[in-house]
């Protein structure tokens, strides 16, 4: 029996060593594989795969081949970002970012569709360099991510049930105080609401969080479960067309919105360490807005121009 136990102990220790070796070897065993592929492509294409080196700030200025930038989108909401019936990713944000990259020959854009929360996790881990999902800005996000200049000047509407008398007296954000709303965490509207609440703690809006689909949220408003739900104006127009809800949309005057929230805009967000990329994006974005490309894209998707202006 003693010999047996000894044998087991040896097997155990050796086995554990092998597993630990294999685990830590994950990085090591990847090394040769990765370097060989890197070498191979270096030989054939010269530094195409050196994107990470460029991104992490070492700035390979000599790179003649474009650096691949990975962008992530959740593929919703339409019309900002969605996959159309011919399985093509499209929408306002997508066309805009493509227009921007058209002016940046030094980069190659790859857009991936992923689950919405994965965009943030992917940016944290630098798996993606850009998040494109009509993102709004807030303090916490500013700490974690880089923001480009605004890509879209948002207008919000508060959706009330048609028979709700309160809707008539709503003009400003303050009129919404004390009312109950529902919102999905992480999206631009929620950020706007949270920003407002942070600035006006004594006139706060009651936010309930849910991953509930917007259609259900609007139905809940119809049913009186919540007072209102806040939406992007262009999006609400699409929803109205599709579902013909029994609700009214009250535009929140954008001047007031600006006063209270300082920035009712949407942005591209970029993972930390890519300052050079942001600079290039801003440069190209300015061109896109000034030469009317952005206006064209806006008119196509929304019927009116929501381009931010440079003043």
């Amino acid at each position: 029996m003693k010999r047996d136990r000894l044998k087991k102990a040896i097997v155990g220790v050796l086995g554990a060593a092998t597993i630990l070796g294999a685990l830590s070897g994950c990085s090591n065993s990847q090394k040769p594989a990765e370097t060989t592929t890197a070498k191979a492509s270096e030989e054939s294409k010269k530094e195409e795969t050196s994107s990470v080196a460029a991104q992490s700030g070492s700035e390979t200025t000599a790179a003649a081949e474009p650096v691949t930038i990975y962008a992530a989108t959740g593929g919703s909401p339409k019309p900002f970002t969605f996959v159309d019936s011919s399985n093509q990713l499209t929408g306002h944000n997508i066309e805009l970012i493509k227009a921007i990259f058209d002016r940046l020959p030094q980069y190659k854009l790859e857009i991936e569709v992923t689950d919405f929360p994965s965009i943030f996790a992917g940016l944290d881990s630098d798996r993606y360099q850009i998040g494109v999902n009509n993102f709004a800005k807030n303090e916490k996000r500013k700490e974690k991510y880089l923001f480009t200049d605004p890509i879209f000047a948002n207008e919000y509407v508060a959706i009330f049930a048609k028979d709700n008398k309160k809707a008539e007296s709503i003009n400003t954000w303050e009129d919404l105080s004390g009312l109950k709303t529902i919102s999905q965490s992480g999206i631009n509207i929620t950020t706007a609401l949270e920003n407002y609440n942070a600035a006006n703690p004594q006139k706060a809006i009651n936010i309930e969080y849910s991953d509930e689909d917007l259609v259900l949220q609007i139905q809940d408003v119809e049913a009186g479960k919540y007072d209102f739900v806040l939406m992007d104006k262009p999006m609400f127009e699409y929803y109205e067309k599709e579902f013909n809800f029994n609700v009214t949309g009250v535009s929140i005057s954008s001047d007031v919105a600006k006063d209270l929230m300082e920035e009712p805009y949407s942005y591209l967000i970029v993972s930390k360490g890519n300052e050079k990329l942001v600079e290039d994006l801003n440069q190209a974005l300015k061109e896109v807005i000034e030469d009317g490309t952005s206006k064209e894209i806006n008119l196509k998707w929304f019927g009116s121009d929501y381009s931010p202006s440079y003043k």
Partner: protein, 241 residues
Amino acid sequence: MSKIFDWQLVFTEIPLLLKYLPVTIQLTLIALIIGWVAGLFIAIVKIHRIPVLQQLCTLFVSVVRGTPIIVQLYLTYFGIPIFLKYYNFYNGTSYNVNGIPPIIFAIVALGLNQSAFDSETIRAAIQSVEKGQVEAAKSLGMNGLQIFYRVLLPQAVTVAIPSLGNSLIGLVKGTSLAFTCSVVEITAQGKILAGNSYRYFEVYCSLAIIYWVITIFIERLFTYIEKKMSVPEQIAEKKEA
């Protein structure tokens, strides 16, 4: 109140979703194989109480069973790049994790998750075989491998099949979370379709139907296998033949 629920869409969307069924099946099958192989390994380690390895396996099973699968997907898909980022920073290297297709991460995460659950099933099944049989086999001069393949495995499989079928069904539904790793399988495709039509509820109804049918199929399959295996006479007949 018009068109709140478009029931026709539920059925017209099914073919569009089924285009991505191969991805779901691929995820399931490969994760299943990883799960069974790794699960068997863990079970053997636990049964033989191999020191060090046993503790490691117990820790692994405990962690994997104690955390939601979506968290595990996040950890593998986004944790490894963060690790690489640090590694690159300190070693001046430039490994890029984007070179590895996302589906690999999903398969590995699902497979390891499956292995943790299956290992307990397999361990219980192997231990359900009477010790006397093992001793009898030993006295007949069989070695360890022979005992395992000839005595333990056939009987253990019969015991394990229902639970393994159960966890396979769990795995099929677990694949619906692979979208967190940018893998587009049927649920992800459903979300993408709904992103275009705004009709999430209808898509989820279609998905429910698809998953239900898949599950019925698996149930049937396992009932069939169970029947085939649980009749001792048949096994005996086969061996004689």
